[in-house]
């Protein structure tokens, strides 16, 4: 492919690509994102390719592995174009039927369609599925339509037209003004106005400046950056190049966490392709602008998601954050002006350039413009990535799109913002999602993780979990964070083991104050948030743990006991056999009893007791009823003939 040397040439190439593509030609798109791959998508892709070949349809039908569309719970996801028929949880065994029925006979395979659990209705097209219908998929919508390893696919969808517009018709000031006008705020967690950050770097007096993509998505529960980088890497490259042009940088870095090997692979391929086509390198599209991008892998450290720590890691050091009294936009990597933005922030840039700041600003609220991709995970029916305009209520996201809580359980809280965020309870579900609204409620937007928790989740344990996470991930340099978290974790662990005492909550609050006031970086300053927000909304759970040694959610191992209700037990022997500690006594017609001293609280008996009996119970805060006498344990079964 010879290098494209002007924006006119680019349009010619684009038209050529489009002319060779028949929009009516059937295309089988199978999601090849990390989630679906884990569910067996590569076998499905191989099965389709083999079946198409077998049926002699290779020239008439396209088959491709695509980027992640976000409906991970129901993967492997397959969409058949041009009809947009969407099949879910497809297995290799289903492939021959799909090819003969849908491809050849244009008939729908009913059993693979989405079934709405509340209405019982099926949805044929992707756009009919409630999960997708209520989203505004400006950014992630393209993922299912392209093969991330094909730059031609990206061009066919209009890719690199924003870059062409910028390099041929806009000055760098105009680009900056457009981004400022859009009021785009960082999507990584800070929510800092992107245009202002770019302006600071642009005005900094230094010849050498850097632009950086933060793809160190460390917030557990968040995977939208993975989906974007894996699924549509060129969109990030395009955004980054535009940003570099705006501030006057010629060197870019993409810092990807090493836990995302597929993202590293796809973005590395994309950079090579971009260099070949002339979207990177010297004199891009004949504009005289030079720009190159390097990929740096992370090595397993959550703290490297913090911007100054990431820059320290880029310099080849241990990722210890630095004080940001002087913004990194002015003194960043190697003390040069550096603009660091999150993957999703960069992905918004081509859109803003192509459609304009005014178009962008029509979505969202007064102070939070545009759309945001959230990862809806945890105790929710439809887990996956959802892209919605800012301002949608939490209730709509969780119930209309997420399908509510499975298993008939009651909603308890939604955790947002990762380890720096907090838990939002039911009474605040009508909160309109936005940066400031979430912060006011005691949490924060963070990178967009939304972890749904139900009645079985212990909020004290949630706080303990996050502190445990941070004791490992903190860099350990400063006292308030390292020692503060150490002591807070100790106290919370005591709570979950029934060793809490009066005065502990007050000590927790004091430690929280010092950590948030005096820590060196945002990790330490926000470390107390999970504790403080759970104390704010779920104080009663804390008090139960301390005063009554009771876990209301029946979750903390040391505070619960398992007990088999003699009135319900039918001596089916299932739990007896499965108990890994052989702690259950009983027999074929003898009611089962758990020997408490041997019980390791693994929960297997609770898991396997047939739902129609429901004999295994969890008890907390009260003594276990003594086992009934042996004679009373014999079950006399009525004879089968009556």
């Amino acid at each position: 492919m010879p290098r494209i040397n002007s924006t006119d040439e680019l349009e010619k190439v684009r038209q050529e690509i489009l002319s060779q593509r028949d929009p009516n030609k059937p295309c089988i798109s199978i999601c090849a994102g990390a989630g679906c791959l884990a569910s067996g998508a590569s076998e499905v892709i191989a099965a389709f390719k083999a079946e198409i070949e077998k049926q002699g349809l290779k020239t008439d039908v396209n088959t491709k592995g695509t980027g992640c569309p976000g409906f991970c719970e129901r993967g492997p996801v397959v969409v058949i174009y041009p009809e947009e028929i969407c099949y879910l949880q497809v297995k290799p065994e289903d492939v021959p039927e799909i090819v003969s029925q849908t491809i050849k006979e244009k008939k729908v395979v009913d059993r693979l369609l989405y079934l709405d659990p509340s209405t019982g209705e099926k949805a044929t097209h992707e756009s009919d599925i409630p999960f997708y219908k209520n989203q505004e998929r400006n950014i992630i919508g393209n993922n299912i339509k392209l093969d991330p390893k094909s730059v031609d696919d990206y061009l066919a969808l209009g890719g690199y037209s924003a870059l062409a517009k910028v390099l041929s018709r806009m000055t760098s000031e105009q680009v900056l003004e457009e981004v400022k006008k859009s009021n785009l705020r960082g999507r990584g967690g800070g929510g800092f106005p992107t245009g202002r950050k770019w302006e600071e770097s642009r005005n900094a007096p230094d010849e050498i400046k850097y632009v950086i993509v933060n793809a160190d998505e460390g917030d557990p529960g968040a995977f939208m950056d993975r989906a974007l980088l894996e699924g549509n890497p060129h969109s990030i490259l395009e955004g980054l190049t535009i940003g570099a042009y705006a501030i006057g940088s010629h060197e870019g870095y993409i810092y990807v966490r090493q836990e995302y090997p597929l993202a590293v692979e796809n973005v590395t391929i994309a950079i090579k392709q971009a260099e070949e086509y002339g979207f990177l390198g010297r004199n891009i599209l004949g504009s005289g602008f030079d720009f190159t991008i390097k990929v740096h892998q992370g090595a397993g450290a959550f703290v490297c998601g913090e911007s100054s720590a990431l820059m320290t890691a880029l310099e080849g050091r241990a990722g210890e954050p630095r004080p940001k009294y002087i913004h990194t936009a002015i003194k960043g990597v190697w003390d040069r002006p550096s603009v660091l933005n999150n993957v999703e922030t960069w992905a918004n840039v081509p859109l803003i350039i192509n459609k304009g700041a005014d178009w962008f600003a029509q979505f969202g609220t007064e102070r939070s413009k545009g759309t945001k991709i959230f990862s809806l995970v945890g105790k929710i029916t439809n887990t996956g990535l959802v892209e919605v305009p800012m301002g949608m209520t939490l209730r709509d996201i969780i119930y209309k799109i997420g399908g509510g809580i499975p298993g008939g359980k009651k909603f308890k809280a939604v955790q947002t913002g990762g380890p720096s965020g907090g838990c939002i309870p039911e009474e605040l579900l009508d909160l309109e999602v936005g940066f400031d609204e979430l912060t006011k409620a005691g949490s924060m937007m963070g990178s967009g993780g939304m972890i749904i928790m139900d009645e079985d989740t212990c909020m004290v344990d949630v706080a303990r979990y996050f502190l445990d996470f941070l004791t490992d991930e903190s860099c350990g340099k400063c006292v308030p964070c390292r020692e503060g978290i150490r002591q807070m974790l100790k106290i919370l662990t005591h709570f979950t083991k029934g060793k809490g005492k009066e005065g502990d909550i007050e000590l927790l609050e004091e430690l929280a104050e010092v950590a948030s006031d005096a820590s060196l970086c945002a990790l330490g300053r926000s470390a107390p948030n999970p504790v403080l927000s759970t104390l704010r909304y779920f104080r009663d759970e804390y008090e139960a743990h301390i005063k009554e040694k009771r876990c209301p959610a029946l979750s903390c191992k040391e505070l619960i006991s398992y007990h088999i209700d003699p009135d319900k037990c039918q001596a089916c022997m299932i739990c007896l056999r499965k108990c890994p500690s052989e702690a259950i006594g009983g027999g074929k017609n003898q009611i089962h009893v758990i020997e408490q001293e041997k019980c390791t609280k693994c929960g297997t008996c609770f898991e396997v007791c047939p739902p129609r009996f429901g004999a295994v119970k969890k008890i907390s805060g009260e003594p276990v009823p003594s086992p009934i006498p042996e004679e009373a344990r014999i079950i006399v079964r009525e004879s089968k003939q009556k």
Binding site: P220, G221, Q258, F302, K379, D472
Partner: protein
């Protein structure tokens, strides 16, 4: 790993000190651990103090200063997996292998490590063995997955 191979990796990154972490990642990936001699060679060639390399090798979880087992087991302890029962999966794996996170068994068959989020949150709890991801894990299913490792 011989010095020749290490030198090759360093040269690939133009011998720049800032590529230190990338160099170590490659050595770790090929060799499955970072022997002391390798660190000393890197220190010499890149002209960086051994203390900085030691800090990096212990700061970042991707690196191991001891040999690892043939089968690396990673259990995701991210929030979404945690809420869906990952601690119980961890307990079961610990019981089955006799290992605690960070340990490898004496015949170097298994290495167990907890990871803070693999990015497959919709499929939690997630278990990764030899790079292959297994979603929707339950304590009862883990035995099956591990049995298939020789």
């Amino acid at each position: 790993m011989d010095n020749g191979r290490i030198d090759q990796i360093i040269d690939k990154h133009q011998g720049e000190a800032s590529s230190l972490i990338q160099v170590l990642l490659e050595i770790q990936s090929e060799n499955h651990w970072l022997p002391k001699e390798a660190l000393e060679r890197v220190s010499e060639k890149l002209q960086v103090p051994l203390t900085r390399i030691q800090h990096i090798a212990t700061f970042y979880k991707a690196f191991s200063l001891v040999p690892k087992g043939r089968h690396e087991i990673h259990i995701c302890m991210g929030t979404a997996c945690h809420v869906r029962g990952a601690p119980r999966v961890l307990d079961t794996v610990q019981d089955l292998t006799g290992l605690k996170p960070g340990e490898s068994d004496l015949d170097l068959k298994f290495s167990l490590q907890t990871v803070n989020c693999l990015g497959c949150c919709a499929l939690g709890p997630v278990l990764e063995v030899d790079g292959k991801t297994h979603g929707k894990m339950a304590p009862s299913k883990t035995a099956e997955v591990l049995k298939n490792c020789d």
